[in-house]
């Protein structure tokens, strides 16, 4: 019983992580900025 909890718990967390990641992959913005591009883009907006 206790080993069942261990494996179920681990499987549950892994499945949760995977489903969240799939959700994020679907939400990815079309331009998908990298951190650097995102910052440069931000500065460009403010610089006009």
């Amino acid at each position: 019983m206790r080993k069942t909890i261990l494996f179920t718990g681990l499987a549950f967390i892994l499945i949760f992580i995977l489903t969240s990641l799939i959700g994020f992959a679907q939400q990815k913005p079309s331009f998908a900025p990298t951190l650097r591009e995102e910052l440069v883009y931000g500065f460009n907006v403010f610089d006009g």
Partner: protein, 278 residues
């Protein structure tokens, strides 16, 4: 003789860690805490992504640091509760007395409990690292060097939280009183800091002399709390990462180590003083 006693202590610490770790991994609480912290994290990240989609821009140097900070706080609450009941539960059930008939001492018992919780956090950290790495790879939110630094520093924050919990547990004889004490102390910390910041919003001239004294007292109290409360070490560490100061980062690690050593030593001393029956 001294060498034999030392190896016996090390052996009993190892046995305690193994026994406790297996017991924690075979319970629902640990997975529940990870699940709650990851679901809150996912919610925050979903909002980030929604913000980018709607406004086509997100200006943030460390987009993943805040979700990590929140996850660590949530898992810290779980760890502080389980460490706060760990000694008192064994005391209440009488297992502490049985253990102490064997080669287990106050020192090995406390250190065993401490490292068990640290190992639990290290397992959690593997899940966190995998999750954030996955999020970064799929969304392009940067898995930055500062995030790696935060993940590293979080081990030391959690060390403070655990040693504080063990300290509370060594003071109390029952699980219920441990929980009540823990909640009362944390609420008192929160109330003092809240009252202090509320007083700061008033100009000096608007306050009467007794209120000025009260404000001064609250200032000193909240200064003290910022060194006693384990949760202030988390926010202080986050600040050191945000301003990118390596010196402050290392200093924060040093503070956390000193804090943990002091509270663990106090726990061992109190456990010895109060005995196995409390």
């Amino acid at each position: 003789m001294a060498k034999e006693s030392f190896s016996l202590t090390v052996h009993s610490i190892k046995v305690l860690i193994k026994r406790e770790l297996v017991s924690s991994l075979q319970g629902w609480g640990f997975y529940g805490a990870i699940f709650v912290s990851l679901i809150v994290c996912s919610f925050l990240l979903k909002n980030f992504m929604g913000g980018i989609r709607e406004e086509n821009i997100l200006i943030s140097s460390y987009p993943l640091n805040f979700p990590l900070f929140v996850s660590v706080i949530i898992i810290s609450f779980y760890l502080v509760v389980i460490s706060a009941i760990s000694i008192s539960r064994e005391r209440e059930q009488g297992t502490l007395e049985i253990l102490f008939y064997g080669p287990v001492s106050s020192f090995s018992f406390t250190v065993g409990k401490y490292f068990k919780d640290i190992f639990l956090y290290l397992i959690t950290l593997i899940f966190f690292a995998a999750y954030f790495f996955g999020v970064s790879a799929l969304t392009n939110l940067g898995f930055t060097y500062s995030l790696v630094k935060s993940l590293g520093l979080s081990i030391f924050w959690v060390s403070c939280v655990i040693s504080f919990g063990l300290f509370i547990s060594s003071l109390t004889g029952r699980v219920r009183s441990s929980i009540i004490w823990l909640v009362a102390i944390l609420l008192a910390f929160l109330a003092i800091q809240f009252a202090h910041s509320a007083f700061l919003s008033f100009p000096k001239e608007a306050l009467s002399t007794p209120l000025l004294y009260l404000r001064r007292t609250l200032y000193y109290l909240s200064k003290g709390i910022s060194w006693v409360s384990p949760f202030s070490y988390i926010s202080r560490g986050m600040e050191s990462i945000q301003i990118e100061s390596m010196k402050l980062y290392l200093l924060n690690i040093g503070y956390c180590i000193v804090y943990s050593v002091i509270f663990l030593t106090l726990s061992v001393y109190i456990l010895k003083l109060k005995g196995v029956r409390g």
